[in-house]
C-alpha cells in the first residue's frame, strides 16, 4: 500500500526509503497509507483540505473522499483563485451536474458521486454513504486505537491538517464530536470563512444565509437523534439540500424511512490492524503490536537514519528524522 504525505499529498510507493528522510517535497514527516481501492477512505477524508491536495499526484480513483475533494478543486479551478470562493450550494450543484468536466477514471466512487442525483443508483448511494462515513466518523465505534481515523475535531492536537477551530466552534460541542451530514464532512467551502466573507458581494442572499446561519445546539441534537441509527443509512435519496448542508442538517437528515439502510462494509476499508501489519512489514524497526504495546528491533533502530514510526490513533504515523534530534533539541 503506498504512502502519502499528509502535508503536500505526495505519494510514495510501498517500502519507499525516500520518505524515511522526510517528504522531499515539503519536508513533512507525517504520512498515511494511501488507499488503493475505492471505498477505502482512510484518514484522508477526515481532515485533508483541498488546498493542500496536490491533485497532480493523486490517484483520483482511490476513494470517494478523494473524488469529492478533487471535485471541489476542479470546480474552483476555472476562476483560478481559490476553492474557498465556491459556496456550498455551488459545490453541491456542481456535484449534481452530469455535464461537469470529464473524468477519465473508472473508479465508481468518483463517478457515482458526480452523478449521484439518481435516487435508484444503489452504487452511488453506497459510495456516498461510504464517503459520509469516512468523513463523519460515527460514535458507534469506540474511539482510540484500533478504530478508523476519526472526525476532524478529534485529530491530534499537533496535527497541522486540523481544520480551523471556527468550524467546530460554530457548531457547538456535539458537532465537534460528530459532523452531521455527508456534504458537511466533505465540503471544502466552509473551511475558510474569512476568505468567503471577503467575497460576500458576489453572493446572493440564499448563499449568504446558507453560510451565515449557525446551527443551534437544538438542531444538532435533533439531527443527532435522527441519525443515531446505522451510520451509513444516509443518502439513498437525492443529495442533501445545500442549505441544509450548510446550516440546517436536522431538516434533511435521512432516516430509516428514506430507504434501504446500507451498512458500511467493513471489508471496504482496511482496519487499523491491517495498516499496522502493513507498516510493520515495510518498516520493522518498531512493531506496534497493539495500542500501547511495541516490539523494537534494536539493530534496525541502530542501523537506520530514521527512527520512529509511530502509528497514531487516527491511522497516521510519524517518521522522525535525525535532524530533529540534534543535541540542541534535547533536554538538559
Amino acid at each position: 500500500m503506498p504512502h502519502q504525505c499528509t502535508t503536500c499529498g505526495k505519494v510514495f510507493p510501498d517500502g519507499s526509503k525516500e520518505m524515511l528522510s522526510g517528504c522531499p517535497s515539503c519536508g513533512g514527516n507525517k504520512f498515511q497509507f494511501k488507499p488503493a481501492s475505492s471505498g477505502s477512505a482512510p484518514a484522508s477524508a477526515s481532515d485533508d483540505t483541498p488546498s493542500t491536495g496536490g491533485a497532480g499526484t493523486r490517484d483520483l480513483t482511490s476513494s470517494a473522499a478523494d473524488a469529492v475533494r478533487d471535485r471541489a478543486q476542479q470546480q474552483s479551478h476555472p476562476d483560478a483563485t481559490d476553492e474557498e470562493s465556491m459556496t456550498v450550494s455551488d459545490w453541491a450543484n456542481a456535484n449534481a451536474n452530469p455535464d461537469a468536466p470529464q473524468r477519465t477514471e473508472t473508479g465508481d466512487t468518483a463517478d457515482s458521486i458526480q452523478n449521484e442525483p439518481s435516487p435508484t443508483d444503489a452504487a452511488g448511494a453506497s459510495d456516498a454513504a461510504g464517503a459520509a462515513d469516512a468523513g463523519s466518523e460515527p460514535e458507534d465505534k469506540p474511539r482510540g486505537w484500533g478504530e478508523w481515523p476519526s472526525a476532524p475535531g478529534e485529530s491530534p492536537g499537533a496535527d497541522p491538517q486540523e481544520p480551523p477551530a471556527s468550524r467546530n466552534e460554530s457548531r457547538g460541542e456535539s458537532a465537534t464530536e460528530r459532523p452531521s451530514s455527508s456534504a458537511d464532512s466533505a465540503s471544502p467551502p466552509d473551511r475558510a470563512p474569512g476568505k468567503i466573507n471577503a467575497r460576500e458581494t458576489d453572493e446572493d442572499n440564499s448563499q449568504k444565509s446558507a453560510r451565515s446561519d449557525v446551527v443551534t445546539p437544538e438542531e444538532l441534537a435533533a439531527a443527532d437523534a435522527n441519525r443515531r441509527g446505522p451510520a451509513a443509512e444516509t443518502p439513498s435519496e437525492a443529495p442533501p439540500d445545500p442549505d441544509a448542508a450548510a446550516g440546517q442538517p436536522a431538516e434533511d437528515a435521512p432516516t430509516d424511512a428514506d430507504g434501504t439502510v446500507i451498512e458500511p462494509s467493513s471489508d471496504d476499508r482496511p482496519n487499523l490492524d491491517q495498516l499496522r501489519e502493513e507498516l510493520n512489514d515495510q518498516f520493522e524497526s518498531i512493531k506496534i503490536v497493539n495500542p500501547g504495546q511495541y516490539e523494537l528491533n534494536l539493530m534496525e533502530l541502530y542501523d537506520r537514519d530514521e527512527y520512529i514510526i509511530s502509528l497514531r490513533e487516527d491511522g497516521r504515523y510519524v517518521i522522525e528524522v535525525p535532524d530533529t534530534w540534534g543535541p540542541g533539541n534535547r533536554e538538559d
Binding site: 500501547g292 504495546q293 511495541y294 523494537l296 534494536l298 509511530s310 522522525e320
Partner: protein, 213 residues
C-alpha cells in the same frame, strides 16, 4: 546516506580524539529500564556540579528523552576528566503499557507513556550510534544480566570500539549479585555501586577519571 553518515561520524570521532583532548567526552549512560541510570546520573551531576539531570522514579521508563549535563569535571587520584553526561532512556525490546497500569496509572497515560518510551529507545539507539564517546552501562545487580538487550547493546558498543564501564548498581539490595555481572561480561571492567545510597562512589569516580580521560 547511512554509509556517508557512518564515514562522517567515524572521521569526526577520530578527529575529536586526536585534536580535542580538552573537549569534554560525551559519555552515555545506558542500560535496561529501571537499572538506576538517572539515579546514577543525578548522583554524579550533583556531586560535581550541584545540579540534577532529571527526575527519578521507580516506575520504568521515567526517562523518555535523553538528558544531558555538560562539562562535569571529575577528578580522582590525580586524574581529571571533563565529560558531558547523557542520561538515556532505558533500552528494551518490548514496551507494554500494561506494565504501567500496575503503578496506578490510568490507561491513557500508560499508553502515552508506552509510546514515548518506545520513541525514547529509538532516540537512545540514535545517540549510541552517533553522539557518544564512551558508555557507562548500568545494570541492576539483582537481576540476571544476560538478556537479549544487554547482549545486543554491549555488542554494539564493542563494535563501535567505544570505551565502556559496566556498573553493577543496587548493591544495597539483598538480592544483589555483582559476581554474576562480572562473569557475564568478563571482557569489561565491572564496578559495583549503589547510586541511590552513594555506596562505592569513590571507586566509580576513580574509574571514570581513569577510563574516560
Amino acid at each position: 546516506m547511512g554509509l556517508l553518515t557512518d564515514l562522517r561520524d567515524s572521521i569526526s570521532r577520530v578527529v575529536d580524539r586526536l585534536f580535542s583532548e580538552s573537549e569534554p567526552k560525551r559519555i552515555g549512560i545506558y542500560g535496561p529500564p529501571n537499572a538506576g541510570k538517572t539515579t546514577l546520573a543525578n548522583r554524579i551531576a550533583r556531586d560535581w556540579t550541584g545540579d540534577a539531570i532529571g527526575p527519578e522514579s521507580h516506575i520504568p521508563h521515567e526517562t523518555r528523552r535523553a538528558r544531558r549535563k555538560e562539562n562535569v569535571e571529575i577528578e580522582r587520584n590525580g586524574k581529571k576528566v571533563t565529560i558531558d553526561i547523557v542520561d538515556t532512556p532505558g533500552v528494551t525490546t518490548k514496551v507494554d503499557y500494561k506494565e504501567f497500569l500496575e503503578h496506578d496509572m490510568e490507561k491513557d497515560d500508560a499508553v502515552r507513556r508506552s509510546r514515548e518510551a518506545t520513541e525514547g529507545v529509538a532516540e537512545a539507539m540514535h545517540w549510541l550510534r552517533e553522539d557518544v564517546d564512551g558508555v557507562i552501562y548500568v545494570l541492576d545487580s539483582t537481576k540476571d544480566p544476560i538478556s537479549q538487550v544487554n547482549t545486543m547493546l554491549i555488542g554494539i558498543i564493542e563494535s563501535q570500539d567505544l570505551p565502556v564501564l559496566i556498573f553493577a548498581n543496587k548493591i544495597d539490595l539483598e538480592d544483589s549479585n555483582v559476581e554474576r555481572i562480572a562473569n557475564a561480561y568478563p571482557q569489561h571492567e565491572t564496578v559495583e555501586l549503589s547510586a541511590l545510597e552513594g555506596e562505592n562512589m569513590d571507586e566509580v569516580y576513580a574509574k571514570i577519571a581513569e577510563y574516560f580521560a
